[in-house]
């Protein structure tokens, strides 16, 4: 269940590894699985992008059934079925829970026509939270807890996400990794709290390997990247709670931050650095990576 990156990657890995059995991707959205990061970058900037991972024809060519607009409302693990909105029940041999997450909406802004949620975080003003929003059908003014007021034409809310797992509430299922307490039920992507593109991709592929009885891929450190205003940020490791040593370029916007915890490097954050720099950072956190020379 779910039509995002994790589901797509699981599906592609299954086919790449030779699985010939039936696969169904069922998701609440009405389009084929698509890549979300560009929507808040190139998409907002007005650039023409193709967000879909694969064209519609790919799914037919790889014998993957798409059930679009199929929102799950309940998991019935005993019967190995997922109940959809409308009452239909999908039976599964193995189930991947990959229903992603939803952006958090501030209660004071709910219902206004000119409020848009983004799945990224931003700081509007330090030390001042939103107290209320004023307007009729559109927000015209924000009132902050420090008493200040901000006139606005449009509001972008970017205060994080919550896993979209309400349909699992009755099952009591906890999602912390790709394996769950229920037989034949796996999880990947934002529902596990991973929160980043690379985690979803690796987990989706990991579920495929687990379904086929293969050994898991070597563990990789958490990592993410983001392109912000033309600046590429890349992070490997766990920076939270660690002490950072920052080396900034004398000119330009680039920098390298090395995070230490308990006397060891726990993460490296790079801005405007080269691929070789990123690989060097990854080597600080992991054993020598395997290089595979592919024949041309």
């Amino acid at each position: 269940m779910g039509g995002g990156l994790a589901a797509q990657r699981c599906c592609e890995t299954l086919r790449a590894l030779g699985h010939a059995g039936p696969i169904t991707i069922a998701g609440a959205e009405g389009s084929e699985p698509y890549d979300r990061p560009p929507l808040s970058k190139e998409g907002l900037a007005g650039a023409a992008t193709e967000p879909r991972f694969r064209p519609r024809s790919w799914y037919a060519e790889h014998d993957v059934q798409l059930r679009l607009g199929a929102a799950a409302v309940r998991l019935r693990p005993g019967a190995r079925t997922v109940e959809l909105a409308g009452g239909e029940r999908l039976r599964y041999d193995d189930l991947l829970v990959a229903t992603g997450s939803r952006p958090v909406m501030l209660p004071a802004l709910a219902g206004f026509a000119n409020v848009q949620a983004l799945r990224t975080r931003a700081q509007m003003r330090l030390g001042a939270a939103l107290e209320s929003a004023r307007g009729a059908d559109r927000v015209q003014e924000l009132v902050l807890t420090d008493g200040s007021r901000i006139a606005t034409d449009h509001v972008v809310v970017a205060v994080g996400v919550r896993p979209a797992t309400e349909w699992l509430d009755a099952s009591g299922l906890e999602l912390r990794g790709i394996h769950t307490a229920l037989p034949h039920v796996y999880a990947a992507g934002d529902v596990t709290g991973g929160g980043h593109w690379e985690a979803a991709a690796r987990q989706g592929a990991g579920v495929a390997r687990a379904l086929l009885g293969l050994d898991p891929a070597p563990p990789a450190p958490p990592s993410f990247w983001s392109d912000q205003l033309g600046l590429r940020l890349q992070c490997v490791g766990e920076p939270a709670g660690a002490h950072a040593t920052i080396a900034a370029d004398a000119e330009g916007r680039g920098f390298e931050a090395v995070y230490h915890r308990d006397g060891r490097v726990s993460a490296v954050l790079l801005a405007d650095r080269t691929p070789a720099d990123l690989r060097a950072a990854r080597r600080l956190l992991t054993p020598e990576p395997k290089l595979e020379r592919s024949a041309a």
Binding site: R9, E12, T13, A16, L17, F53, W197, E198, A201, R202, A205, P218, A220, S223, W225, R232, Q234, T274, P275, A276, D277, L278, R279, R282, T286, P289, K290, L291, E292, R293, S294, A295, A296
Partner: protein, 69 residues
């Protein structure tokens, strides 16, 4: 100079930007795979585009890794 691309399969997460930039040289399955040749400029652009830094370019004459910058 002729560049040979190698894929750091540990780092690759199959984002696919490389295959967009150099489709004749790289195909993306569960990870990227080198499938053909491309001009050096295209390979350099593909290496720069990879958000995981997973494309290593090697100078075929010297065997040395080339930084795509």
């Amino acid at each position: 100079m002729t560049l040979i691309p190698e894929i750091d399969t540990f780092s690759c997460v199959a984002h696919g930007d490389c295959a967009v930039v150099a489709p004749h040289a790289v195909r993306v399955d569960d990870v990227a795979v080198v499938v053909g040749v491309a001009l050096d400029d295209a390979l350099i652009e593909a290496a720069r585009a990879c958000p995981a830094g997973a494309i290593v370019l090697v100078d075929s004459d010297s065997g040395e890794e080339v930084d795509p910058g």
